[in-house]
């Protein structure tokens, strides 16, 4: 199977330039794949899928029973990110999370940015992710958002844009690690030739960061991962991360607040918990502080948290900053707190609660992507160019009835990557979700991240719940590319 005849169809392609030549850094990969015997690539693709199924690397689909776990479709051709490109992204992501964290801390404490009128106060206080019980909280080290997964896309202009900041319980990092494992198993020679930055130490970094949050004076803190349970769509990830860090995976029923401290029920009685990496929404954490009907939560948890008896990652309330309405203000937020120009671009965003913006949106529904600010996972969206007049009318009604809850953005010509089909490669749209760990000492950005692919031809929706798949993301090492090329040449000569 070869790449001859692969057509970028005028889209920005991550692997080939406009002339159809491999982009710098991708040439080795293309060369190697082109050199594979017929059917070999398919054989390896099948082997990779079988490995994923046997390993049970699956996700649950909401509304279906336990029988229908699915593997997250996986395409064997990796995505390549060049070193210099990555360096900029990394700096931009660090800058962004620093500013967003300062924003969250400010919103729950002094509210300077609101008083200064940079971000409209009513917008923030009415955000779906705003949590009143968090007002006045001071998390350890002033850090609220320890784990972030930021969605990036590349437009037709070849520039990266931030699509959204996932500051609550971002999923997907386990697939990054497993994809890499599968790739190393199925494609060792290609992998070896390309000099790729490793991702394997993510769990150790995560554990170190979490341990660093423990209340002072605790020498070997008890860290746990908190899952809603085996029927949660991201359960695989919860258990994977707990396993990789070697810490207990707990459910709400395993935890109890006793004499003001959070404890877990063990075969030898109650044992104190110091740090909780929670993968459960704010609303369900503590029926006393948030939703009273939560069956998953631990009564009294927030009280223990506010007294500093236990640390939570991420802190409750961080959702206020990944509201799609607040997103529109992130460039200003960066300038306000850091006094720097934003390194990463925001997608131009029309906020429907501003009269002018709403007018423009209503007149251009066929050209825009409209998003409900409180929905995620591709739900509650109108993709203008792919919609019917009826759907547009329906959305117009919704926007007029409730302007606060809608934003609109121009449709980006998302970049594409080649995916393997029956007998050829075809381009499909992708995004990229890098993961960022914000610890007391430093900020770590996992080199690469989850590349999600819209497997349906022409589709722009990459979510796994909507038929998306994934690819391994290879961030190449700096300086090394020339050295690797020559070492490969040598190797070929020897062969």
């Amino acid at each position: 199977m070869r790449f001859t005849g692969y057509d970028t169809e005028g889209f920005y392609d991550e692997v080939f330039d406009e002339q159809g030549n491999p982009r710098p850094g991708a040439d080795l990969l293309i060369e190697r794949i082109n050199a594979l015997p017929d059917k070999e690539l398919h054989r390896r693709q099948k082997a990779a899928e079988k490995a994923l199924l046997n390993l049970g690397i699956t996700f649950n689909v909401y509304g279906s029973d336990a029988q229908t776990e699915k593997i997250f479709p996986f395409d064997i051709v990796p995505r390549i990110v060049q070193a210099d490109e990555w360096e900029v992204l990394e700096r931009g992501l660090k800058q962004r999370i620093k500013a967003l964290n300062a924003f969250i801390d400010d919103v729950y404490n002094e509210q300077k940015i609101l008083k200064d009128g940079i971000v409209p106060s009513e917008l923030v206080l009415s955000a779906d992710g705003f949590r009143k019980p968090c007002i006045g909280l001071k998390p350890p080290g002033g850090i609220w958002c320890h784990i972030t997964g930021t969605d990036l896309v590349r437009g037709g202009d070849g520039k990266y844009y931030v699509l959204e900041d996932n500051l609550r319980c971002p999923s997907g990092v386990s697939y990054v690690l497993e994809n890499r494992l599968i790739m190393k198993r199925t494609f060792p020679m290609v992998f070896d030739a390309c000099s790729v930055q490793p991702v394997t130490d993510y769990p150790s970094r995560l554990l170190e960061m979490l341990q660093g949050l423990a209340p002072q004076g605790i020498r070997s803190p008890n860290v746990v991962v908190w899952t809603p349970g085996i029927y949660n769509s991201a359960y695989f990830e919860h258990s994977f991360l707990a396993q990789q860090m070697g810490v207990p995976l707990v459910e709400g029923g395993d935890l109890v607040v006793n004499r003001g401290e959070v404890m877990m029920r063990t075969t030898k009685g109650l044992e104190k918990v110091d740090v909780i990496y929670r993968r459960i929404d704010d609303d369900f954490m503590d029926p006393k502080a948030f939703r009273a009907d939560s069956m998953l939560g631990v009564p009294g948890l927030m009280k223990a948290y506010s007294k500093g008896k236990v640390a939570l990652a991420n802190a409750p309330g961080t959702g206020v900053a990944d509201d799609k309405a607040v997103y529109a203000y992130v460039p200003e937020i960066i300038r306000y707190y850091l006094n720097e120009e934003p390194i990463l671009n925001n997608v131009p965003t029309y906020a429907c609660w501003r009269d002018e913006d709403r007018k423009y949106v209503l007149e251009n529904l066929d050209k825009l992507v409209v998003k409900a600010v409180n929905e995620s996972g591709g739900y509650g969206m109108l993709v203008g160019p792919h919609s019917t007049a009826e759907e547009q009318a329906e959305f117009a009604k919704r926007i007029e009835a409730n302007p606060r809850t809608y934003i609109a953005q121009p449709t980006l010509a998302l970049s594409r990557v080649p995916v393997l089909l029956e007998d050829h490669f075809e381009g499909r749209h992708v995004d990229l979700r890098p993961y960022i760990l914000y610890g007391k000492e430093s900020i770590y950005v996992l080199p690469g991240g989850l590349t999600r692919v819209a497997l349906k031809k022409g589709s722009l929706v990459v979510n796994s719940s909507q038929g998306g798949g994934s690819k391994d993301t290879w961030v190449l090492n700096a300086d090394d590319s020339s050295a690797t090329a020559s070492s490969m040449q040598q190797q070929q000569e020897v062969n």
Partner: protein, 325 residues
């Protein structure tokens, strides 16, 4: 360790062991019926009785035929103890402690489940023997992988405790049911069928060859002694209870002969009974009565384990904590 995790380790192993035993029962029975031309169908009801689910079977299917019995014991989702149900339950338990067990263990259970699931979709069962061998092998592989890839710490001991209690229960059941089925068939005594039937009983516990090595001639009393009282044959009741006790002591930290909770006490009593049991006394008392008593005491141990470790006094602490708040 977390009580919930200990609970899952225990049940995960019980379910795998149960599935393996059912597979062995069916396989041995199937082969036996091929050897006895007459009255072969009569042999399927006792098999259902062995598993203890005869009432459910009667309600669902009525008379036991070979097809119905195999379907009920292997694939029936309405039967919580069918092989399919057991492996599914084992997998659900494994999934809930996936971070705790080794990934090799998980992969083995997962592929085991996928195998049964695929077989359930196929209409005809062309090679029942191979299928049952695959199930037994999958179980043995799981036990081997567990022993080789997991810390032999608390969780591993909970797993082995579960497996041994299940095994003790199943071996005693098969002895109880089969012994009385086989004994009254006077016609067969001394006939070639006699050896076949008693051989089948031994095979149901994978004990035929080991028995032969130790006793040679087929003798019903010796078979009882072997399956009940052997301290060296790994599927014998006595052996299972000895091993369960070792794990129990490891969990609690008590030394042998002492106890620190109800579960340990009742298991210890059961063990001392077997340690000092003599075959003559058992037959004087009546084998059925003896086995019946042993089974209900194995059940008591199970209930005590449940109460002591999996849903312990912590409940009270929790309520107290809510009041304190």
């Amino acid at each position: 360790m977390l009580s919930r995790v200990a609970n899952s380790m225990y049940w995960l192993n019980r379910y795998i062991e149960r599935a393996e035993n059912v597979a062995r029962f069916i396989d041995a029975n199937y082969h036996m019926t091929l050897d006895i031309p007459e009255g072969a169908s009569d042999q399927w009801q006792p098999l259902i009785n062995t598993t203890g689910d005869h009432e459910l079977f009667k309600k669902l299917h009525g008379e036991a035929t070979r097809e119905k019995a195999i379907e009920f014991l292997v694939f029936d989702r309405n039967n919580p103890n069918s092989i399919h149900s057991c492996v599914r339950a084992a997998r659900e338990n494994a999934r809930s402690v996936r971070e705790y067990i080794s990934s090799e263990m998980w992969e083995q259970i997962n592929t085991f489940y996928l195998m049964i699931n695929n077989a359930a979709k196929e209409v005809s069962m062309d090679l029942p023997h191979q299928f049952f061998v695959d199930i037994m092998t999958a179980s043995h592989t799981f036990i081997g992988i567990t022993d080789c890839t997991m810390n032999h710490g608390e969780g591993w001991h909970f797993g082995r405790l579960g497996r041994m209690l299940e095994r003790a229960d199943k071996t005693s059941r098969i002895l109880d049911v089969k012994y009385f089925i086989l004994l009254p068939s006077v016609d067969y005594i001394g006939s070639p069928y006699d050896n076949i039937l008693w051989g089948a009983l031994l095979r149901s516990a994978s004990a035929f060859e080991m028995y032969r090595k130790q006793y040679g001639r087929i003798d019903p009393k010796k078979i009882v002694e072997f399956l009940l009282l052997s301290a060296t044959f790994p599927r014998a009741v006595h052996y299972s209870v000895v091993t369960a006790m070792i794990s129990m002591n490891n969990i609690t930290g008590s030394s042998r002969g002492t106890f620190s909770n109800k579960a340990e006490q009742s298991l210890g009593r059961l063990l001392s009974e077997f340690d000092f049991a003599a075959l003559d006394d058992i037959f004087t008392q009546g084998l059925h009565e003896y086995l019946d008593g042993a089974q209900s005491r194995i059940n008591d141990v199970g209930a005590a384990v449940q109460k002591t470790f999996f849903s312990p006094q912590v409940e009270e602490v929790a309520t107290e904590a809510r009041i304190n708040e």
